[in-house]
C-alpha cells in the first residue's frame, strides 16, 4: 500500500503536466489573439496596435506555444508561478489567498450534502416503497432539477431578505457559510441520496444482512455496523468527485454569494486569457483533485478489504 501511495503521489506530477498542457494549448486554441484579449483586459477599449505588440513582446506571447509552455514549466520547476498577465499580481499569492475560501466552502458543502444525503438515502432504502421513501425521492428529484443560481437566489431571498437569518453575501464567519453551502450541498445531495439508497438496497438484499438480522441486531446496528460500510463505495466515489468539482467549478455560487474563491478567479482569468493565472489555478486544482481521488482510492481498500492495488494474484 505504501508503495502504491508513493506511486500515486508520483503520478500527481503526470496529472499536473497533463492538465496544464491541455489547458495551455486549449487557451491558445480558444478564439482570439491572446495578446489582444489580454491588452483589452489591461487597458480597456482604447487600444493601439503598438500596445498589443509591446505586450506580446514583453510577455513572450509571440513565441511558439510549446516553447511558452516549456518556459512556464521551467519557471514552475523553480517554484516560480509567475505574475498575472492582466493584473501583474503574483499568481501564487493570489491563489493562496483564494484557496482557503474555496476549500472551506468545498468541505462545508460536502458535509452539508452528506448530512442531507445519507439520512435521506438510508431512510429511503429502509422504508422502501413507502410514503416516506416516495417523499425522499420527490425531494431529491426536485433538488437535482433546480439549478444552483435559482436555488441560491431563492435562499438569499428567503433567509437573508425575508427572515434576516443569514447574510446575503460575503466571506467570513460561520453564518456566511450557511447559504452557499446549502445551495451547493443540496443539489449534490440529491444524487448522493439516490446513490446511497440504490446501493444500500442492493446490500440489504444480501445474505450477510439476513445473517446479521438473525443475530437479533436491531435495525440500527444492522444498518450502521453491517450494511453501511458495504454500501458506501459508490457514495464515496461520488463525494470524492464532487469535492473535486467544488474546488474548481463552483463559479456560479461563488459569484452569487460574492465568495472570493478560486473558481471565479479561474473563469475570469480564462476570459482574460491570463495564461499564468489560469495555469496556476489549474495546477492547484489538479493537485487537490489528484489527492482527493487518491484518498478515495485508499478509502476503497479500507472499506473493502478485497480491493487491493498491488496485485500479486
Amino acid at each position: 500500500m505504501w508503495k502504491y501511495i508513493a506511486k500515486r503521489l508520483a503520478m500527481v506530477s503526470v496529472v499536473i503536466a497533463g492538465v496544464t498542457l491541455v489547458a495551455f494549448s486549449a487557451m491558445y486554441l480558444a478564439p482570439g489573439d491572446p495578446a489582444e484579449v489580454i491588452a483589452l483586459a489591461r487597458y480597456g477599449d482604447d487600444l493601439s496596435a503598438s500596445q498589443i505588440e509591446t505586450l506580446s513582446d514583453a510577455e513572450g506571447l509571440d513565441a511558439p506555444v510549446h516553447m511558452q509552455y516549456l518556459i512556464w514549466m521551467g519557471h514552475l520547476l523553480r517554484l516560480d508561478f509567475g505574475k498575472s498577465l492582466v493584473t501583474s499580481e503574483d499568481v501564487l499569492t493570489e491563489i493562496l489567498q483564494k484557496l482557503p475560501a474555496t476549500a472551506e466552502l468545498a468541505i462545508v458543502s460536502l458535509l452539508v450534502s452528506l448530512l442531507i444525503a445519507l439520512p435521506t438515502g438510508v431512510l429511503g432504502a429502509l422504508r422502501k416503497n413507502t410514503l416516506l421513501d416516495s417523499g425522499c425521492m420527490f425531494v431529491s428529484l426536485v433538488g437535482v432539477s433546480v439549478p444552483n443560481f435559482w436555488l441560491g437566489l431563492l435562499l438569499i431571498w428567503l433567509f437573508a431578505l425575508t427572515l434576516h437569518l443569514f447574510p446575503s453575501f460575503g466571506y467570513g464567519g460561520l453564518e456566511h457559510f450557511v447559504l452557499p453551502a446549502l445551495t451547493l450541498g443540496s443539489s449534490m445531495a440529491a444524487v448522493t441520496a439516490r446513490l446511497t439508497r440504490a446501493s444500500l438496497l442492493e446490500v440489504l438484499g444480501q445474505d450477510y444482512i439476513l445473517a446479521a438480522r438473525a443475530r437479533g441486531f436491531d435495525e440500527r446496528t444492522v444498518l450502521f455496523r453491517h450494511a453501511l460500510k458495504n454500501a458506501l463505495l459508490p457514495v464515496i466515489t461520488f463525494a470524492g468527485m464532487q469535492f473535486g468539482y467544488l474546488l474548481g467549478g463552483a463559479v456560479i455560487v461563488e459569484s452569487i454569494f460574492s465568495w472570493p474563491g478560486i473558481g471565479k478567479l479561474l473563469v475570469d482569468s480564462i476570459f482574460a486569457r491570463d495564461f499564468s493565472m489560469v495555469q496556476g489555478c489549474v495546477l492547484f486544482i489538479a493537485v487537490l483533485f489528484s489527492l482527493s481521488s487518491l484518498v478515495v482510492d485508499i478509502l476503497y481498500a479500507v472499506l473493502d478489504p478485497r480491493i487491493r492495488y498491488d496485485r500479486s494474484d
Partner: protein, 339 residues
C-alpha cells in the same frame, strides 16, 4: 420428556415464483422439547432450510408463511418485527448453511463475532474481542486470525466461524443448518461435540439440519425426515435409523457411502409439479395402487413415531426389497450421444 419449547403447527411456506406458488413447506407440524435435539434430514431442496428460516422469520420477501410457530407460549408469526428481534440470536440462534455468503465480506471475522457480544451483552470493545477470540479458539481457529476477513478463510474455516457465531450467545434453541459440512473428520467430531456439549450444558435445544446420518445418529434425540416439503417420518433417532418406517428413509439409509452408494432411480419432484398422491411414490419400490391417488397423512405408527406412508399404516412391510444399485444404473442419456 419435558414440555415443548417450540411447537410448529400446520406450517405452510409458499414462495411466489415466476412459475406460480411454490410450497416449500406444507403442513409441517413439529415439536422441539426443552433440552432436546431434533435432527432434520431429507433430500436436498426439500425445504429444511426454509423451515429453519421460517422459525426465525428470516425468509425472503417472496415467501408467505402460514400456520403457527409457538416458542415458549409466544406465537412467533404474529409478533411485530420489533418484538421478533428479541427472539433472534439470544433466544433462538441459527447457523446458516452457506457461510461464504452469510459473512459480511468487509468486516473482519473477529469483529463479526465481537459485535454480538457488544450488542447483546453490552460489553466493551476489548472484552468483546477477547470473547470472540475465545470463541474462535473453541472452533479450532487461531484467535489471531480474527483480524482476517472472510475471503482469507478456507471453506471449512468459514463454516466454523458460522458455528462460533451461532454459539456465541448460547441460545435456548439452536437451529444448525449443516454445521459440520465441509469439515475433515477430526474437526467435524470436535465441532459436533462442542455444539452438543454446549447445548447439553445449557439444557438448550437444537434443530440440527444435516445430511450426515451418522452424525444425526449419534447426537440427536429425535429425527424428522422431510421429503418434498413435508415431514414423512418423525421418531426417536435410534428408532428411525434402525427401524425406518418410510421407504424414503429406508432408501436414504441404504445410500450411505458405507453401504456402497446405492441409489434410487429418479429424482425428487419439483415442488411446482408435485405428483398426486404420495410424493415419493414414483420412486418408491413399495408402491401401492393407492399411493398414486391419495396423499397419505402423517400418522402415529407407534407412540412418538409417525410416518406418512400407507404401507406402514397397513403394517404390510416387506423387509428387503430389490434396489437398483450403482451397476444397474444407466449413464445419463446425454452421455450416449457424441458431441
Amino acid at each position: 420428556m419435558s414440555s415443548p419449547l417450540l411447537s410448529i403447527e400446520y406450517l405452510n411456506v409458499t414462495f411466489k415464483t415466476s412459475k406460480g406458488p411454490l410450497k416449500a413447506n406444507e403442513g409441517i407440524s413439529l415439536e422441539i422439547r426443552e433440552g432436546e435435539t431434533l435432527g432434520l434430514i431429507g433430500e436436498t431442496g426439500c425445504g429444511k432450510t426454509t423451515l429453519g428460516k421460517a422459525i426465525l422469520r428470516l425468509l425472503s420477501g417472496n415467501a408467505k408463511i402460514e400456520g403457527k410457530i409457538v416458542y415458549r407460549d409466544t406465537d412467533l408469526l404474529s409478533l411485530p418485527e420489533k418484538k421478533m428481534r428479541l427472539f433472534r440470536g439470544k433466544e433462538i440462534g441459527i447457523m446458516f448453511q452457506n457461510p461464504s455468503a452469510c459473512l459480511n465480506p468487509v468486516l473482519s471475522t473477529g469483529r463479526q463475532i465481537a459485535e454480538i457480544y457488544r450488542y447483546h451483552e453490552g460489553v466493551g470493545k476489548k472484552e468483546a474481542e477477547e470473547k470472540a477470540g475465545e470463541m474462535l479458539e473453541l472452533v479450532g481457529i487461531n484467535s489471531l486470525r480474527g483480524h482476517d476477513y472472510p475471503h482469507q478463510f478456507s471453506g471449512g474455516m468459514l463454516q466454523r466461524v458460522m458455528v462460533a457465531i451461532g454459539l456465541a450467545l448460547r441460545p435456548g434453541l439452536l437451529i444448525a443448518d449443516e454445521p459440520t459440512k465441509g469439515l475433515d473428520t477430526d474437526t467435524k467430531v470436535q465441532i459436533a461435540e462442542l455444539i452438543d456439549g454446549l447445548i447439553r450444558r445449557e439444557n438448550a435445544s437444537m434443530l440440527l439440519i444435516t445430511h450426515d446420518l451418522e452424525l444425526a445418529g449419534s447426537f440427536v434425540d429425535r429425527i424428522a425426515v422431510m421429503y418434498a416439503g413435508e415431514i414423512v417420518e418423525v421418531g426417536k433417532a435410534a428408532e428411525v435409523i434402525s427401524n425406518p418406517k418410510h421407504p424414503y428413509t429406508l432408501d436414504l439409509l441404504h445410500s450411505l457411502p458405507g453401504k456402497g452408494f446405492r441409489t434410487v432411480s429418479g429424482q425428487a419432484p419439483g415442488l411446482l409439479s408435485l405428483p398426486q398422491g404420495c410424493r415419493y411414490h414414483p420412486r418408491c419400490s413399495f408402491r401401492l395402487e393407492v399411493c398414486s391417488q391419495v396423499h397419505p397423512a402423517l400418522r402415529g405408527f407407534c407412540d412418538e413415531h409417525l410416518t406418512r406412508c400407507f404401507l406402514s399404516e397397513m403394517g404390510r412391510r416387506k423387509e428387503t426389497a430389490p434396489r437398483s444399485s450403482l451397476t444397474e444404473q444407466s449413464a445419463p442419456s446425454y452421455v450416449e450421444e457424441e458431441a
